[in-house]
């Protein structure tokens, strides 16, 4: 489904057809390992699932792939498994001469060695004509450039809880709204589980996205469902019974 003219939501990824650009955000590779270090001995399956999903997305034949921050999860040292999974995913993306842009996220403080190994540059933000990609945990002056019309961010892991009576289910979602004079699209996390932060309940993390009640919600299910503005959903649904 087109979220904005020229911007299509494909599963949890964003496809910008005019520039043959695929955008993924918040992959958090190594999430399970981080849990294991805390004492939750979770077997690894997320990376495997992720590789399959990426393979499917590459059928769109992108020329550019933007990883919009938080490629991996860990803040601390890179573990062996994480290193291995990250390289494998980067190799998949780089195949067939594709360009891969790594936007720096708040979890990416030590992404350097991996990027270097693959000759990739890590950027705070990436401008593509009228579009600017940034992770979302920080705002940069350059982004406010008048020529930029669309901002693409991640970081929030947006999800929405839909409720009916005592039933409640959480879904990942895209958000479309405005920051200053710019259209802004917030992508859901590419990591399969957990779904993310409930936008009806919790505050936004981004310093520049305080009020999102005017944002439109696109829910990720078997396809993308356009639900309308958050404030309208809150008014009409039985969130408040």
């Amino acid at each position: 489904m087109e979220i904005l003219h020229g911007f299509k939501a494909v599963g949890k990824a964003l496809w910008i057809k005019n520039y043959k650009t695929l955008v993924l955000t918040d992959l958090h590779i190594g999430y399970e390992e981080a849990l294991a270090k805390e004492g939750f001995l979770v077997p690894k399956i997320l990376a495997k699932e992720m590789k399959q999903e990426i393979k499917d997305l590459l059928k769109l034949k992108p020329k550019i792939v933007v990883i919009n921050g938080d490629l991996k999860h860990e803040f601390g040292e890179i573990s062996k498994q994480e290193w291995f999974d990250t390289l494998e995913i980067l190799d998949m993306l780089l195949k067939d001469g594709r360009r891969v842009i790594l936007v720096k996220g708040n979890h990416d403080t030590i992404l350097g060695p991996i990027a270097k190994k693959k000759n990739l540059e890590i950027v705070d933000f990436y401008k593509l004509k009228e579009i600017c990609f940034l992770h979302g945990h920080k705002i940069f002056l350059e982004v406010l450039d008048k020529k930029i019309k669309v901002l693409i961010t991640g970081h929030e892991h947006p999800a929405i809880s839909l409720r009916e009576g005592v039933k409640q289910e959480k879904f990942k979602c895209f958000l479309l709204g405005k920051y200053k004079d710019k259209k802004t699209i917030i992508l859901p996390s590419f990591l399969n589980f957990p779904e993310g932060t409930d936008i009806t309940k919790e505050k936004m993390y981004s310093p520049f996205l305080r009020n999102i009640s005017d944002f439109e919600i696109f829910v990720v299910g078997d396809k993308i469902y356009k639900f309308g503005k958050l404030k309208e959903i809150e008014k009409t649904s039985n969130f408040k019974n």
Binding site: E38, P43, K44, G165, Q168
Partner: protein, 879 residues
Amino acid sequence: MIKIIEKPYKSEEVIKVLDESVKEWFFSKFKEFSITQLYGIIPIHERKNILISAPTGGTKTLTAFLAIISYLVRLAKKNELENKVYCVYVSPLRALNNDIAVNLIKPLKEIENLVKKKQKMQEIRVKVRTGDTTQDEKQKMLKEAPHILITTPESLGIILSSKKFIEKLRAVEFVIIDEIHALANKRGAHLSLSLERLENISNIIPVRIGLSATISPLEEVAKFLVGFEKTKEGWKPRDCLIVEVNFLKKLDLKVLSPLKDIINTTAKEMQQALYDVVDKLIQEHKTTLIFTNTRSATERVINHLKEMFPNRYETIEETIGAHHSSLSRKHRFDIEQKLREGKLKAVVTSTSLELGIDIGYIDLVILLGSPKSVARAIQRTGRAGHKLHETSKGRIVVLDQDDLVECAVLLKEALEKKIDTVVFPKNCLDVLAQHIFGMVIQKKWKLNEMFDLIRKSYCFNELSREDFLDVISYLAGEYNLEDKNVYAKIWYDTRTNEIGRKGKLARMIYMTNIGTIPEESYVNVIIASPFERKNEKIGVIDEAFLERLKKDDVFVLGGNKYQFLYARGMNAYVNASVQRPPTIPSWFSEMLPLSFELALAIQKFRKLMEEHLKKENKDKVKEFIKKYLYVDENSCEAIYNYFHDQFLYAKIPHESKLVIEYYTDAVQGKRYVIFHSLYGRRVNDVLSRAIAYLVAKHGLRDIEIGISDNGFFLASNYNMQAEKALKLLSEKPEALRPLLEDVIEKTEIFKRRFRHCATRALMILRNYKGKNKSVGTQQMKAEFLYHVVKKISEDFPIIRETKREILEDLMDIENATLVLKWIKEGKIKIETIVVETPSPFSLNLITQGYADLMRIENKILFLRRMYEKIRKKIEVKSK
């Protein structure tokens, strides 16, 4: 063979087996042997396994120790005491210091003094080893082994895998297990395997001595104590003697109804009357112990007493106190000390004072509301009148009409000495995983050697080889758990059939994460509005539940509805005046379930009541009630009215008639189907979910479930084919279990129990690398863990154990199946009624709200439906 000792030994016989000095000491303190001692001392002296069941205050602990002390004193006199542990004493009580001081350390000191007047003797060392024992003290124990080691089930588990201390356990001669009645749970399952490990380590087979309050069936408890042995003819329970010294204590137990008419009365009137009664009882006695069924109720009772009678309870000198497991140790010790000193008028407690902590002289026990089982009623009442031959005085004060009927029947059962049965959980795979890990830390094992040892435990005697191997596979990191380094805790060599430990941190992980009691943390619920009740604390909810609450959610706590407003730290603030129905199921309930036997006894009474109401006038029926139950006029009148209303308005459900009531709440447009299945919550937990599942599957919609001891309801906005579902189930009762195994994963309770099991099986380490984590974090991540594990194998041992725990321990699949069989055989007939307002018997059930939600609708279908719904509303608005 398990054998009951029919008659006590003679006093002269007992005297003969005791050491001179021990005898001298004993008769300087007591006039004669207690009946328990006459039964128990000689068999222990003769080194026979024995289970002693006697009421609290029945001198059990001293009985167990007397023959052992006598033996040790003889050795000490001859200077033959070795540097080893002779006796291990295990108690589930965390605070056992006081009891031991009275029953063991003090007598030993006094005997020593007696002996030393005449001759030299070695010191007999007694040491306590629990989670609180310092490293320093442990070091000392290594040099000088305690001759009698006092410990808890958890600490015993740790000791068994210790590197050095284990050497002091190579020749243990006695093991005493105290308070066995409190071990019919996973703690007990854990302990039963520890006992076999201890026996395996010891070159001498230790004698096992079990001490229990009133409990049934004694034969099973005895088997639990002694375990099994492999003989030529197969597995057999080891020999054990049973001593039953029950009921010698006189029981003065009565049911009190605060008002004559408890049906047509407001909650406020009822409350006023209730506290008037409680206050009057407290004032008439010296020291009163009040039992409630939940921790939150404990606090509530104290607050209300202080508020309503400030000059009696809100004084500078504290006259009333609380004692329950969420309170700090220091606070509890304080209360116990004040009780012993007779400084308190009353103490309110939930379950923490049920066990045998020494609390001095209590002359009255008040039970607020039904204790839900006869054994518990007797144990609680037994806390009054501490000496064996004194009368125990107990008063059950009832809270509403259902409670009244239940307590009245309970009283009858108690006075007629019909005790409900306990069941020990079997084949707990999570507990097993913990033990296998502990065993390989101790040494390398052969597969069959390990399996044989495990099967000696009563709780694992029927363990299948498949289950055993699955747990081994899990611990060895098989099941496609990639990156074995992290997950594997053991290695298993299929070629040599050897099993050993893996990882440098193994011992540390084991020591810091052992245990079976799930960790929960609670958040206070505090009123923010209305203004007149501001800051009133109404109870607690657990942290994991709080995480699910959204602003404006309505939930049920202690029978009342509250609207969640916001949380600050460990407090959740709510609005207490809310009219809307609950929006979130209250799966956190900590209520005690009604025992199946007691439920059947009530059902029987209901049937008799129906027969009498059909043919007799009021006076005659009341005559019957008074004759059948042991109740006063107030209670009799109330019971009559309650049954009469139900009889006139609807039908009386009973042991051979299951009534299904259909009712539609016109305001909410919600349909209810109420099942009057008085079989206790544990059976209803099963039946309700099975029926809800079938109904929900048929209509492809989720169903709300409400459950109590007296029945359950299903609610939905749609028509429900509930009766048909019940009939379908009863056609094939044996299909209930497989159905439930599927169904249970769709409920809220599963998520929580999965966390408990994963923690016990050491898949979630509470303590890891010195870090502790909050319960909330644990719960969130456990859900992630479940999501992943399920993808690996639907049959993963921890998932299987979670289901077993829910179906067998938390719920009662066995008796639920039995009920279905009764329906199939025609012993129970089903009758339906359609009503405009809920019948008297269903009022309590309906008002208590939801307990769970049966999820059947697929997530995507739900999304589509919500999409249509919300889009439609938005469109209408924008026109």
